[in-house]
């Protein structure tokens, strides 16, 4: 019942925050949001399960209750956690609390609604990463979008309306496409399934012969159509080139704490769903089209990095670099090797922490300077040494510096994809994607040279001082997490590997020296 408890605490917290006084809402929300953090970390610490939620093995914190009868199908309340979703749940709760604290300085109107929506979004995120029945999963999936829409549209920057509607329409159309693709599969499976549970569907799809002709499409065509529709739908969320243009607008207009959640957790919904649906349920189709999928990944890496190089707004730089970093995840998933899929999942967690850290650091600088434009600021290292120090560390984390989590994620993806037997010319794809590590150094170092160093100058009329403690503490916590995962990756990687092994038809256990 742990998942239900997390959801309940978060939802009650959201209600309490909505009702609380604006002046206190930030503190109330932060205080309440500590509970799911403690809960999810307890779950994490006691997590010993091996296996994949959709395929085989033991699930942690699982509940299955028959819920609604719909025609021939039983809708269940089915939640459970495996080694892929556990770190993502922990990431969601931790990042929400830190984002709430980082909102204390910049959010100065309608606070109770802001923090209430943040907690509402957190509940939906926990749901997305734990629901194992399609119905509930889809409700949570859509449930993330609505708070996010309001968070951008109400508290955003000057073009917030445009950005919010673009975000909402774009991702909703994507949900629609994905939904159509998935439903076609469900109908194609016909009588071989009686519930809309993801494990049941995944296992039915792995048995040949279950899929029948639907809407005039043969099973092979149906797989391809469903795969394409779901891939397109999830690719918007990741985002993968060329479906990425909503992201920079949303990031630039969203207030910083919302950007933290958007880059840190919401993008991972896309890759998580890709892993669960496309790469687990329909992996034959994924393998047959590996080169095409890998091309999308590689283009995202390089194209996103090149776009980041052209930007002048610090937030846009980080936004485009997210597209670049998430491209590695695609490449790792499609490799279908232990390091590839495991590394891609690790990269989701790592990028969640590092991009959250990066956006927060940009936010702290913005709080003090009221500008994010590269040309407007220079030499602030003198005025806010600790913030700049953490910014520098975060940037090097983004560049994949060893002993920080980004390095482990990227190197595992590279090791995995280089050896891929599914992907033709795997070494060439890998080498092409790896060039991202040069471009990322280029744009981040260049941006830092111009903003952090040199003689102190500021184009806006603000006196820059040291940031308040509650702005810097979340940064420090995230940095510690990034370094901890980078120097001791087993904390997350072991459970991840045990959960992705069934996808690769491998035994659960890890070998070697334990």
């Amino acid at each position: 019942m742990m998942v239900e408890a997390l959801l309940a605490v978060t939802l009650i917290g959201a209600a309490m925050t909505f009702l609380s006084d604006d002046e206190w809402a930030g503190r109330v929300a932060a205080g309440i949001s500590v509970l799911p953090v403690v809960g999810s970390l307890w779950m994490y610490a006691n997590f010993q399960n091996v296996g994949n939620a959709l395929l085989s093995g033991s699930l942690a914190y699982e509940t299955t209750i028959d819920w609604i009868q719909l025609g021939g199908y039983t809708i269940q309340w089915h939640v459970g956690v495996d080694g892929v979703s556990m770190p993502l749940i922990a990431l969601s709760t931790v990042l929400t609390t830190l984002a709430i604290v980082s909102a204390w300085t910049p959010i100065d109107e309608r606070q109770s609604q802001f923090y209430g929506l943040m907690l509402l979004m957190e509940a939906s995120l926990i749901g997305v990463f734990s629901a194992l029945d399609f119905f509930a999963w889809f409700v949570f999936w859509e449930g993330v979008l609505i708070p996010m829409y309001f968070l951008i549209a109400v508290w955003g920057g000057p073009r917030r309306k445009y950005a919010a509607i673009k975000f909402f329409v774009y991702t909703n159309v994507a949900s629609l496409v994905m939904f159509l693709g998935f439903m076609a599969l469900v109908f194609g499976l016909g009588d071989s399934i009686t519930v809309l549970g993801l494990p049941e569907i995944a296992q039915a799809l792995r048995e040949p012969g279950n899929l029948s002709t639907f809407f005039g499409m043969s099973p092979g065509v149906l797989r391809l159509v469903a795969f394409t529709a779901m891939f397109a739908g999830f690719a918007v969320k990741v985002p993968v080139f060329p479906l990425h243009t909503w992201l920079p607008d949303a990031h630039v207009e969203a207030p910083t704490p919302v950007s933290v959640m958007l880059a840190g957790v919401l993008l991972k919904m896309g890759t998580y769903a890709l892993l669960r649906f496309n790469f687990t349920m329909l992996q034959e189709t994924a393998k047959a089209n590996a080169a095409l999928i890998a091309t999308f990944g590689v283009v995202s890496v390089i194209y996103g990095a090149m776009l980041a190089l052209a930007q002048k707004d610090l937030k846009r730089i980080v936004a485009y670099s997210s597209i670049s970093s998430m491209g590695y995840v695609i490449l790792g998933l499609v490799a279908f090797t232990p390091h590839g899929v495991g590394g891609a999942t690790f990269q989701m967690i790592s990028h969640g922490l590092i991009s959250g850290l990066m956006f927060m650091a940009v936010g702290v600088i913005y709080n003090e300077t009221h500008t994010r434009m590269v040309g407007d600021i220079s030499g602030i290292a003198d005025r806010m040494p600790w913030t700049v120090g953490i910014f520098l560390a975060a940037a090097f984390g983004y560049m994949g510096l060893p002993l920080m989590s980004g390095f482990i994620g990227e190197v595992l993806v590279f090791l995995g994809s280089f050896r891929s037997t599914v992907l033709p010319n795997a070494p060439l794809f890998t080498a092409a994607a790896m060039f991202g590590i040069v471009v990322v150094a280029g744009y981040l170092l260049w941006a830092m040279q111009r903003t952090l160093f040199g003689e102190y100058e500021l184009a806006t009329d603000y006196e820059v001082g040291r940031a308040p403690l509650h702005d810097v503490v979340p940064l420090a916590i995230l940095l510690v997490l990034v370094i901890a995962l980078g120097s001791s990756p087993g904390i997350a990687y072991n459970m991840i590997q045990r959960a992705v092994n069934p996808i690769l038809n491998l035994a659960f256990a890890l070998g070697g020296v334990l």
Binding site: G71, K166, Y303, L412
Partner: protein, 688 residues
């Protein structure tokens, strides 16, 4: 391997790197509260590292070594994939290098108290913290037992040098130079990382530890077996030797970047923006040394590929000459030294490519000593000159600062390669080894080696010239400015490191006097014997390398006496030094002779316009492509998105009553349509 009994003393080996890492933490966070602002932590830590390194040296001399995993980063899945580990490899090569690095680092810390503390610099805790990081990363790199760990600390060495080069971040120059250093070396490291990943993919599952440097399961050894047809490795459709050449050249990318070889050398002269003690550390023992050390560390792998060796030799020989010519015209003392470093690492590369493993390690050792000495000497001069680095403003410092002068002279004689100073013996051996292998090898490699040799030999003359031009301009003649007339004094913390290194620069060459050994028949090639002491099972000893060079690369040595080639290179060095004396050493107020070179001087002052070319590549090409991509993204990719939405809005305008213009209405419309859709599918699917 885990079952193997490890001598107790090696339990302390990790502390060699951990101590400076601790000094990073102590200096950074608590340095403010120390009287010397954190220097204490650094000095204690590096002294501890030095003592431990010496103990390792003694233990290795006693015949004990270690090569084992210490820490698991990522567990392997049994049978299916490998794990990633950190471990230590202490053999003669790494023990020697550990000693060099910790010695130089210790002396640099002491010197820094004179250069930084006494000069009233601010930000010292940060400075000493970064020095600690630099030292720790390099030491961990040196004792890495596998190539992934080597890459990791190679990168951290790059980070530390970025931080230290950009130490004076309030000025415009240092942050720019720091960025360039990191970016150029990162470009090289890209190829290195592709090589590392390729090595893991190639040698797994042939060995369960595909990244190891030494031992029966190490990748160089498995590669050797694969060439002999005794092992099967994944060569991705290539001939094994061709594939090993590709992997070797990929890793070499990192070497060329870090060791500042042509064409990735341009960051090093710019790196002079950092504090001078940092330059000493970068040039002598850490950053730049890391590249060539890596080639020496995995020499068994390079020895398998004559093509890779040829590329190394040719790159090295060319860089040696190329950089030396630029050193001739520079006006600032540190600039001359920077180009000399590039040139000297060219020699080390030439030696490695030319089949002279011992010679190259020898030159790496002597160069570490005399280059640290020269930089610290230059630092002393810079303190004296109130941070004016232009040699034309100096002159006559010889009488005013005798300790600096005589130690600097010792270093200069070593750099120029004049008998009996350290550089003579090692450079001579590098050239000699390249020559004998060039003459003796029957294959096409011989041409590459002989061309490399010719470059190297000509560079000797230039080295002699620019070194003594620097000495004469700085220390001889009459003072040319008021500052030079009355220089600032330096204290013991500057003089003591200079004295130690000055003595070493004169004597360290005696560890491997090959010509003398040849002449007298005495067994005094101590370094050769030392490096040959690596245990048989590691397969990292000299006779194994010689064997591999012969069998896989067909390297053979011609039997000629080392005396004549030695005499030629000595004559060239003396010739260069003599010319410098003629032009700059005789007059009280020497003339700027290089200006007579006219357009050649302009070309050399602009470093053959390579810097301009690289800046053009970055801003003229890459940035323009990025801007074009941005325009494309905004106009085309996003344009399509906006186009689609305006088309739907236009068609929507017919239904005026719903088109209220309030965006949230669209949102609710979409949600509503989704619900309807679900219902539609429900009916289609017969749920109701």
């Amino acid at each position: 391997m885990a079952a193997e009994e490890i001598p107790l003393v090696f339990e302390f080996a990790p502390a060699i790197a951990v101590l400076p890492a601790l000094s990073l933490v102590v200096a950074l966070f608590f340095g403010e509260y120390f009287p010397k602002k954190g220097a204490e932590a650094g000095i204690l830590a590096t002294a501890g590292s030095l003592v431990l390194s010496l103990i390792m040296l003694a233990t290795v001399a006693g015949g004990q070594t270690v090569n084992h995993e210490l820490y698991t980063l990522v567990l392997g899945v049994s049978e299916e994939t490998f794990g990633l580990h950190l471990g230590i490899l202490i053999d003669p090569l790494s023990a020697l290098m550990l000693t060099i690095v910790s010695l130089i680092s210790f002396l640099v810390h002491v010197f820094s108290m004179g250069y930084m503390n006494d000069e009233g610099e601010t930000g010292l805790p940060r400075y000493y913290g970064e020095l600690g990081l630099f030292t720790a990363s390099m030491l961990a790199f040196v004792m890495a037992d596998n190539i992934l760990m080597a890459f990791m600390f190679f990168e951290l060495v790059g980070l530390a040098s970025y931080l230290l080069i950009g130490f004076w971040f309030r000025d415009a120059g240092p942050p720019s130079a720091a960025k360039k250093a990191f970016l150029v070396t990162r470009f090289g490291d890209y190829f290195f990382l592709v090589g590392v990943v390729g090595i893991f993919a190639t040698f797994f599952p042939a060995t369960s530890t595909p990244g190891m440097f030494a031992g029966e399961h190490a990748f160089p050894v498995v590669a050797e077996h694969a060439l002999a047809g005794e092992a099967t490795v994944n060569t991705f459709g290539f001939e094994p030797q061709t594939w090993f050449t590709i992997l070797g050249l990929l890793v070499l990318g990192g070497v060329i970047g870090k060791s500042a070889q042509f064409p990735l050398h341009s960051w090093l002269p710019d790196a002079m923006e950092g504090p001078t003690p940092v330059s000493a550390l970068i040039h002598a023992a850490t950053m730049v040394a890391a590249g060539v050390y890596l080639v020496a560390r995995m020499y068994g792998f390079y020895a398998l590929s004559p093509t890779a060796l040829g590329v190394i030799a040719l790159t090295g020989g060319f860089t040696a000459l190329f950089a030396a010519t630029m050193g001739v015209v520079k006006q600032e003392i540190k600039q001359v030294l920077a180009y000399s470093t590039i040139s000297q690492y060219g020699y080390i590369m030439l030696g490695l490519g030319g089949g002279g493993y011992v010679a190259a390690v020898f030159h790496l050792t002597t160069h570490a000593v005399f280059k640290a000495l020269l930089f610290l000497g230059a630092g002393s001069v810079i303190i004296a000159m109130h941070h004016n680095e232009n040699m034309w403003d100096m002159g006559g410092l010889k009488e005013k600062m005798p300790v600096t002068y005589y130690s600097f002279l010792s270093g200069s004689l070593a750099l120029a390669g004049i008998i009996p100073f350290a550089g003579f013996w090692s450079k001579d051996e590098v050239l000699f080894e390249t020559l004998v292998h060039g003459l003796g090898t029957p294959t096409a490699s011989s041409t590459l080696l002989l061309i490399g040799y010719a470059f190297g030999l000509v560079a000797v003359f230039f080295t002699g010239f620019y070194t003594f031009r620097m000495v004469f301009l700085t220390f001889h003649g009459e003072p040319r400015t008021d500052t030079a007339e009355d220089p600032h004094g330096v204290r013991w913390n500057v003089k003591a490191p200079l004295a130690v290194l000055g003595v070493l620069a004169a004597t360290v060459g005696f560890i491997n006097m090959t010509p003398v050994a040849e002449l007298t028949g005495a067994h005094i090639e101590f370094l050769h014997q030392w490096l040959d002491m690596a245990p048989e099972e590691y397969l990292t000893n000299v006779h194994h390398y010689t064997e591999v060079l012969e069998t896989a690369s067909h390297y053979e040595a011609a039997h000629i006496s080392p005396l004549a080639p030695g005499a030629v290179s000595l004559a060239l060095a003396l010739g260069g030094a003599g010319l410098a004396y003629q032009l700059y050493g005789t007059a009280a107020h020497p003339e700027p002779h290089t200006e007579k070179l006219g357009s050649i001087r302009t070309l050399l002052m602009h470093n053959y316009y390579l810097d301009e070319f690289q800046v053009w590549l970055a801003t003229g090409v890459t940035y323009r492509v990025a801007r074009a991509a941005n325009t494309f993204d905004q106009g085309v990719v996003d344009g399509v998105v906006n186009g689609v939405s305006s088309v739907s809005l236009f068609s929507g305008s017919r239904v005026r009553r719903i088109q209220s213009g309030v965006v949230s209405n669209y949102a609710s419309l979409i949600t509503l349509s989704l619900v309807l859709l679900i219902a539609f599918f429900g009916i289609m699917g017969g749920w109701f």
